[in-house]
Amino acid sequence: MQQDDFDLGAEVARLRADNPRIGAIASFVGLVRDLNDGSAVSGLTLEHYPGMTEKALAGIVAEAEARWQVLGCTVVHRVGALQPLDQIVLVIVASGHRGDAFAACEFIMDYLKTRAPFWKKEATSTGERWVEARESDDAAASRWSSQKPGKQPV
């Protein structure tokens, strides 16, 4: 968790440095949009639960490591006041091959969105409002539970 912005290129370089076993890196960057649920959004504030957030993210990454070959992983989530165009969240997964990297990266984001204690409050033209949780996010996370854990061949 950090208030400051992050640099995708610098984080990827750090993750892959000196590890010639890494053959694939998948990354995801989430951004602040200026529109949500039909209203113009001028900014948002991200709150989290210090103490639990770190534990929840570590648990999600550990679960990804149990399911896929993960040679390195970086998760950065910003908190505090953000504006449209700002970066919010970064997930990078390094693996031997692309299949594990893509899957683990998507899994971590799906679980982060439904299990990590972050909350968004949007500023709109009609005032501030807490963002409501989406059922589509629950559905995205639950589809992983029907898949058996287990590493694919390297």
Binding site: L46, P117, F118, W119, A133
Partner: protein
Amino acid sequence: MKLLYLASLRESLGRATEEVAPPGSVNNVGALVDWLRSRGEPWSVELAAARRWRVAVNHEIAEPATVVKPGDEIAFFPPVTGG
């Protein structure tokens, strides 16, 4: 035990934290919620069964049967919306 209210629940309950000492029979999350509701509004309204909220005990997601004891940190919050 220390109670924390986060995000929209902090605002609707009008406080971020409180220290409580419920009777000894309040030994799990379900009993704690019943006890909090018995204090009346705003808890009876904001922690009503129909509302969507979550509980964590000592930073782990909890269920009604999760044990609570003096010294625990118990957090109440709405469904998460990060990412």
